[in-house]
């Protein structure tokens, strides 16, 4: 474990440099311990903290905070044994329309992988993915691990505009873009799930630790799903298989 300075407003507790479930467990344990400590008060100037794949970044107000005390608290949290109490894993099954306008890179991914487009869809839908972290954009889930046959580096030419809802892959990760943005991942399809809504009590639909499976649906089914969502007949929570 290393503590890395991120300027005067933050420091990063780095557990390792790779994506690894063991590192993720350490991040989760520190996250839980900090929540408990913050819940008890006594941390003036602590603004927020951000868990990622392999590290946790603590953000503070340098004018108010006692950085030494907060670092000591982090070390204390790490040295003590914390039960990573097993919260029930939420399991999602999200609909995706693959290929065509919704997934303009399906064909090129298939070519690069030496597969047919249907085989790419079959492999992308054959397993569940773990949400490692949210980041980059509000509600954007970094999910792994993509089967090795589908792992490709990011596009050499990132798109200026990736449409909201795009289901994409890059290296070992898959994701859904909650918002239109620039992006360099390969677009396989589109998912209608509203991933971030500030009006909800918990604005982000997915959370780190969730498991997500994808289900290929036809254009007709997707039109029905989108109409039901728009009319309020379908609640995103309906895609929760178990919790």
């Amino acid at each position: 474990m290393r503590i890395l300075d991120l300027g005067d407003t933050a420091f990063t507790v780095e557990f390792g440099d790779r994506i690894d479930p063991a590192l993720q467990a350490q991040v989760n344990a520190l996250d839980a311990a900090l929540s408990a400590a913050a819940g008890a008060g006594h941390l003036p100037g602590l603004i927020e903290w951000v868990p990622t794949f392999r590290s946790l970044t603590v953000i503070l107000d340098p004018v108010v905070a006692d950085r030494t005390a907060i670092e000591a608290l982090v070390r204390d949290c790490l040295s003590r044994h914390h039960d990573t109490q097993s919260t029930p894993v939420r399991q999602w099954r999200l609909p995706v329309i693959y290929g065509g306008e919704s997934g303009p890179d399906l064909v090129s991914v298939a070519q690069a992988a030496g597969l047919t487009p249907d085989e790419v869809i079959a492999r992308h839908t054959a397993q569940d993915y773990v949400v490692y972290m949210l980041g980059f954009l509000p509600g954007f889930p970094f999910m792994g691990d993509v089967p090795s046959a589908l792992r490709l580096p990011r596009r050499a030419e990132p798109r200026v505009r990736v449409p909201a809802g795009s289901v994409a892959i890059a290296n070992a990760m898959t994701a859904i873009y909650p918002w239109e943005s620039p992006g360099g991942w390969h677009l396989l399809g589109r998912c209608p799930a509203p991933l971030f809504d500030p009006a909800r009590e918990v604005p982000a639909l997915l959370a780190a630790g969730d498991r997500v499976g994808f289900e290929a649906v036809s254009a007709t089914d997707m039109a029905d799903i989108e109409a039901d969502l728009a009319a309020g007949r379908l609640d995103p929570q309906d895609w929760l298989v178990s919790s």
Partner: protein
């Protein structure tokens, strides 16, 4: 209730406050004013809470008009501003003070001065916060006015102008000393020569500079090797300096994403981030390494200086008559001498 109507939004004008804290773990950037000091001053000049929302004008062109009732506005920034009365007559409006726009009067921001940002404070500007803040984050339609940058025809609800006109006697000057940077978190991904080159060379702010970040043009910085050009994404904050494979730094600003996969050579200290974020494209900039303890001290000094500036704000007796006591007593214009009483003038330039 009065309103401030956007007649022209200029290049890019948004509602900003101190930003949206607490949601980075869900991928939500802070947003907020590019220069928090300008926000506090703009609000203090109209009698608002210092963290209240104000209008951030990027690159000028903003035109506003009072509707229904008088609106008190203020200008924080070395801007050139016109007042256009109901009859179309144009006069100039001084920055660093508040003004009352009568119904039908307009304010036109011609130029933002040496920096690319000017904050317009609006007395009683009232908008609904989203996730605890009125800051606009347009990419996810959060906050501000309808979740987007201002557009012509937008009507911002404001209080009817009341209270005194206020003036900042000694406006802050923009320093051109090097921007201070704390090394890390991935400074070990760069060669020693690259770390030295980062602080020895003159960088130029590229035209690719927005609220999310700005790119620097200069001699590329070498990573240790190809394997050190990327990292498994970890968290970033405004001020973090990412260096992608092409070796040209990107300084992250208020709308910075929450995580990134490029190594970070260092982080601009919070005391210098407002200056960094408001540099005009084409401007030359230098950096200087500083330790984290010195950076924390700099943050405290900056906070104290801001408090002193704000406590120096005073009321002007009449909107139409310049308060000479305030003007000459506080060196509003450096080097100016009051011909009627030369001894009170500032002779520091002599």
């Amino acid at each position: 209730m009065s309103q401030l109507t956007v007649l022209s939004p200029g290049v890019m004008s948004t509602i900003q406050d101190v930003g949206r804290r607490g949601w980075r773990r869900a991928g939500v950037p802070w947003s907020g004013a590019l220069d928090a000091a300008l926000l506090a001053l703009a609000n203090a000049l109209v009698g608002n809470a210092l963290d209240a929302p104000a209008i951030e004008c990027l690159d000028g062109g903003l035109k506003l008009g009072a509707t229904d009732g008088p609106v008190m506005v203020s200008i924080a920034g070395d801007a050139s501003i016109d007042r256009i009365d109901q009859g179309g007559a144009v006069s100039s409006m001084a920055p660093w003070r508040s003004h009352v726009l009568a119904p039908g009067e307009q304010l036109r921001l011609r130029d933002t001065g040496d920096r690319r940002v000017c904050m317009i404070g609006v007395a009683g500007l009232s908008l609904a916060p989203v996730l605890g803040s009125c800051a606009t984050y347009a990419r996810a339609h959060l906050g501000g006015f309808d979740g987007r940058a201002l557009a012509a025809g937008d009507r911002l609800p404001a209080a009817d102008a009341a209270g005194p006109i206020r003036l900042l006697p000694s406006p802050p000057t923009v320093s051109n000393t090097p921007i201070r940077v704390v090394p890390g978190p991935q400074s070990d991904h760069f060669t020693g020569a690259a770390r030295e080159r980062f602080v020895s060379q003159t960088w130029q702010v590229s035209p690719e500079a927005d609220r999310m970040g700005l790119r620097l043009a200069g001699e590329a910085l070498a990573h240790v090797d190809a394997a050190h050009r990327e990292i498994v994404s970890d968290a970033v904050v405004p001020g973090a300096i990412q260096v992608p494979g092409n070796g040209l730094p990107i300084v992250l600003l208020a709308d910075s994403q929450t995580a990134g996969g490029y190594p970070k050579i260092g982080t601009v200290i919070s005391a210098d981030l407002g200056r960094m974020g408001t540099l005009k494209p084409g401007t030359q900039v230098h950096f200087e390494w500083i330790g984290v303890d010195a950076a924390i001290e700099a943050a405290r000094v900056a906070a104290a200086q801001r408090a002193t500036l704000i406590s120096g704000i005073r009321s002007v007796r009449d909107d139409s008559v310049v308060d000479l006591d305030a003007l000459y007593g506080n060196n509003l214009l450096s080097g100016m001498v009051n011909a009627l009483n030369p001894d009170t003038g500032d002779k520091s330039d002599a």
